[in-house]
Symmetry: C2
Subunit: 263 residues, 2 copies
Amino acid sequence: MKIVMFQFSPAFGQVNENLETIGEALADQRADLIILPELCTTGYQFKDRAELAALAEPANGPAMKELSEIAAACHGHLVAGFAEESGSKCYNSAAFIGPAGTIGVYRKIHLFADEKRLFEPGNLGFKVFLAGQVKIGIMICFDWLFPESARSLTIAGAHIIAHTANLVLPYCQTAMITRALENHVFTATCNRIGVEERIAGQTLHFTGASRLVDPDGKILAEGSTDKTHVIVAEIDPGLATDKQITSENNILEDRQPDQYNLS
Amino acid sequence: MKIVMFQFSPAFGQVNENLETIGEALADQRADLIILPELCTTGYQFKDRAELAALAEPANGPAMKELSEIAAACHGHLVAGFAEESGSKCYNSAAFIGPAGTIGVYRKIHLFADEKRLFEPGNLGFKVFLAGQVKIGIMICFDWLFPESARSLTIAGAHIIAHTANLVLPYCQTAMITRALENHVFTATCNRIGVEERIAGQTLHFTGASRLVDPDGKILAEGSTDKTHVIVAEIDPGLATDKQITSENNILEDRQPDQYNLS
């Protein structure tokens, strides 16, 4: 299975330009699964809800339709972060897109900082989507800090956690090794690069360093902290099916929920 | 608050010798909390249940009483891994010991590999113990791989996770940075060093590298992979009380249990 992540710097508010950048980067690629950063069509730093509402679009809106054409040209599926309009509400979402259009949506459950005054919190839980036989779980950026996110996706059967991100803190990339190990899944963090300074005194530096980690915690591919990259890796998703890590230990069967205190 | 961890290589089956080693290492120390490795009085690799039963002792047995004298001399509390006899059963336990004796016990919930044929799985959940005003959570070795362990202790109020270990795999020490960050707690992994080769073909190399990590993921103190050390650090446990990591984000309040899939 071929995974392609495109790490780049989306231009704020320039949806058509961003789609063009994505299309050019992925031209002539074949991929089973493409992963793009969080809010990759619009950029990140909305000044207010009105600006967000003007740029948000439904899960089957025109930008997602363009991305489905890119998925079709690559002969695969695609995960893309976008600002989702749903009735009068907006979510920080990721679409799971096939050649014929958007198949489903994940809405970010753990909103970071100012996102709380812009977006509604996700209300669709952690579910998996099928790319052929392979189960794809999606989480977005700050979800990484909550081990419940990757754990929920693993229990739902995910082989690969597609982690679309606009990270500004330096901790996540190393932590994803732990997320992969503790769940024995592949994790694919596609993070953006670049700077946004649309609000005075709130300059955001995005940290790049997108990385694909295997179920044993090995980094299979990674990007730099500041350059545009198409990151490509071949994986065997079946490695994430077997949760037996010693002859006596199974990562899911060894859980002891009646001994936990998680309420 | 002064934390002391003693990383050493317990001699298998030599309980008195091990207590003497511990007593000498901690002589003239003052400490609020002392942490010793897993199974630190007996060693790790029991050949069978009979050998374990012969070396196990109750939570208020003679070895634990000697450790309480060491705690008294240091003017603090002590966490020590030991083989616990309870009726006809044995647990891989850690005692929380005060100057007057054992205050309580944690029994390892996630047993690793051959431990499953020797010990009963822990049945006391994840609870915290008081060292003055400071709440101490205890977990043992392989518990680290299950994020539910440190999370349960954090929800129970732990400021410090005393992690007593006999690690043989190389992943945990880095992962503890993630455990500290995701829970905004101090983690203190006291791991043993040395080699045990009591069963043909099953040589165990313990990985040392004990480390104390603060709630922001910073390593405050650490040991080497192969030397005996008394590791000392001063901490402010109050830093683990505040779970607010941005003005909008609180690590515990931001959890969304109704969106998780953890059954």
